[in-house]
């Protein structure tokens, strides 16, 4: 009797392990439009209403926990921010005076109009679910193909780039965050700064900026935006240009010279995403 139980247990385990390995193998070898991914999408669209309901039902509890967390953090930051605001207000006034004197107003307006978001439709969405590991940093949002969202659309918050749409169903979309190891973004330092490639550092909430144009130096605090890089008709970035990504946090000169790399902290608060905007349409 005991031997029979052991045999049954081992058989079930072997069967499940083989099933997992087959699923992994099929998923990797198959295109996004393959049968396995289609089945995944179908099941996902059936479960979407349930996930939506759960998201709404659990929102008050989530808000309560986040409120405690934010209040605790805000107490520590309050004094620091007050002095920072005073300093920035002074700097802002001085810069405005200088811009007025130099007659930059018209040029600044023109620059704002010509930002990389021209021609992109903005679709607002709420975050419905989040993954629980940095190895696969994804989320699902409540906007899908019925709202005009398409695969490879950029997803942004008020602060900056959050991720990219990797899968779409009728009423929802899966977004890979910029901290997901599968994501890489071409970026450049604001102004005429160097261009490079941003990839995540798994386990931390930071990004790695590898310089393609290594002759220019990058300093702490330098801000990075999407490059919207395009070399010819076949090679082009899927992100619109000029979306803020983050600020350089650790630019160690020796490391920069040797490995052509600096560490970047994203502007978007990726740990606490609730509302996002999908930039759809435009030149993909």
């Amino acid at each position: 009797m005991y031997r029979k139980q052991v045999r049954r247990r081992r058989a079930v385990l072997v069967l499940l392990v083989v099933a997992c390995l087959m699923l992994i193998s099929i998923s990797i070898s198959q295109a996004e439009s393959g049968p396995l991914h289609s089945v995944q999408r179908s099941i996902s669209s059936v479960l979407n209403p349930i996930a939506d309901g759960a998201d709404r039902a659990l929102k008050p509890a989530r808000d309560l926990v986040n409120w405690f967390d934010e209040t605790f953090d805000a107490r520590g930051e309050n004094e620091e921010l007050q002095s920072e605001v005073a300093q920035l207000q002074e700097e802002n006034l001085a810069l405005r005076d200088a811009a007025e004197e130099a007659g930059y107003d018209a040029e600044l307006e023109k620059l704002a109009e010509s930002s990389g978001l021209d021609g992109y439709e903005q679709v607002g969405a709420s975050v419905r679910m989040r993954s629980f590991t940095t190895w696969n940093a994804t989320m699902t949002i409540d906007a899908g193909s019925s709202d005009g969202v398409e695969r490879d659309d950029a997803v942004v918050t008020d602060d900056g780039l959050a991720g990219i749409v990797t899968d779409v169903t009728g009423g929802s979309a899966v977004v890979d965050l910029i901290t997901n190891p599968d994501i890489a973004v071409t970026a450049r330092v604001v102004g005429e700064g160097p261009v490079g490639l941003i990839v995540p550092i798994v386990g931390s909430n930071r990004l790695d900026f590898t310089l393609i144009q290594g002759d220019k130096e990058v300093k702490d605090g330098d801000e990075l935006v999407t490059a919207g890089f395009s070399s010819d008709e076949t090679l082009a970035s899927i992100y619109p240009a000029e979306i803020p990504i983050g600020a350089v946090k650790e630019a160690i000169p020796a490391e920069q010279a040797q490995r052509q790399q600096v560490t970047v902290e994203p502007f978007a608060d990726l740990a606490d995403l609730d509302q996002v905007t999908v930039l759809t349409g435009g030149e993909q």
Binding site: R8, R9, V12, L13, L16, V17, A19, C20, L21, M22, L23, I24, S27, I28, L36, Q40, I43, S44, L47, I50, A51, A54, D55, L58, A61, R62, V65, N66, D69, V127, R128, M129, R130, S131, F132, T133, T134, W135, N136, T138, M139, T140, T166, D167, V174, D176, P181, D182, A184, V199, P200, I201, V202, G203, S204, R206, D208, A271, D272
Partner: protein, 193 residues
């Protein structure tokens, strides 16, 4: 555990609710630089109460559901959760739960095993990015938070599955027969007195 169709339905509901709670709540509440992971806690509890087969099958199902809902590679999460569920079941088949500290401590350790297995699988499949030493912090945080979550979750799941638990049924039988015999003895004593 005696798995009848109603108990199977309860098991499926437990796994489904755990996945929904995880993705819609726990994953969106950052704690200790990471997030609490309810799913391995539930899978370990099912393994401890139902044995290795129940633990492994529950882990497989939960993993598939997660990967379907958040767009992961199907099979990866299942393998890591199966490891936790199977090991919990094997432990239960070899030893008794002699202290109330055993489930939380074992759950913490197996949550760490599940997180480690997931990281190892991802590395095996190939990661096109640098890996920070802080990834170890995530594994430790998930183990610690898993141990804390197990304190309320294990008794809750035990309560839901009580009709199917052989040990609890034996315990109840022992209690009722013990009480009956004590009552008879007292009656006799009273009668004789």
């Amino acid at each position: 555990m005696i798995v009848t169709p109603p108990i199977l339905a309860r098991l499926a509901l437990i796994v489904f609710l755990a996945v929904i709670f995880q993705l819609a709540f726990f994953s969106r509440v950052p704690l200790l630089g990471s997030v609490a992971n309810l799913i391995p806690v539930v899978i370990v509890a099912l393994g401890l109460l139902g044995g290795a087969v129940t633990g492994a099958v529950s882990g497989f199902a939960a993993g598939l559901l997660i990967d379907t809902m958040i767009g992961g590679t199907p099979g990866v999460t299942s393998l890591s959760l199966m490891a936790a569920g199977y090991l919990a079941g094997r432990w239960r088949e070899g030893y008794d739960i002699v202290s109330s500290l055993v489930p939380p401590l074992l759950t913490g350790a197996l949550c760490g095993v599940a997180a480690l297995a997931y990281a190892a699988l991802q590395l095996t499949l190939g990661v096109d990015a640098q890996v920070s030493a802080l990834a170890i912090r995530e594994i430790l945080a998930q183990a610690l938070l898993g141990a804390l979550l197990a304190i309320p979750v294990f008794p809750l799941i035990r309560r839901v599955l009580r009709p199917a638990l052989v040990d609890d049924a034996r315990g109840r039988a022992r209690v009722s027969s013990g009480a009956m015999s004590r009552g008879v003895e007292r009656g006799r004593w009273r009668l004789s007195a």
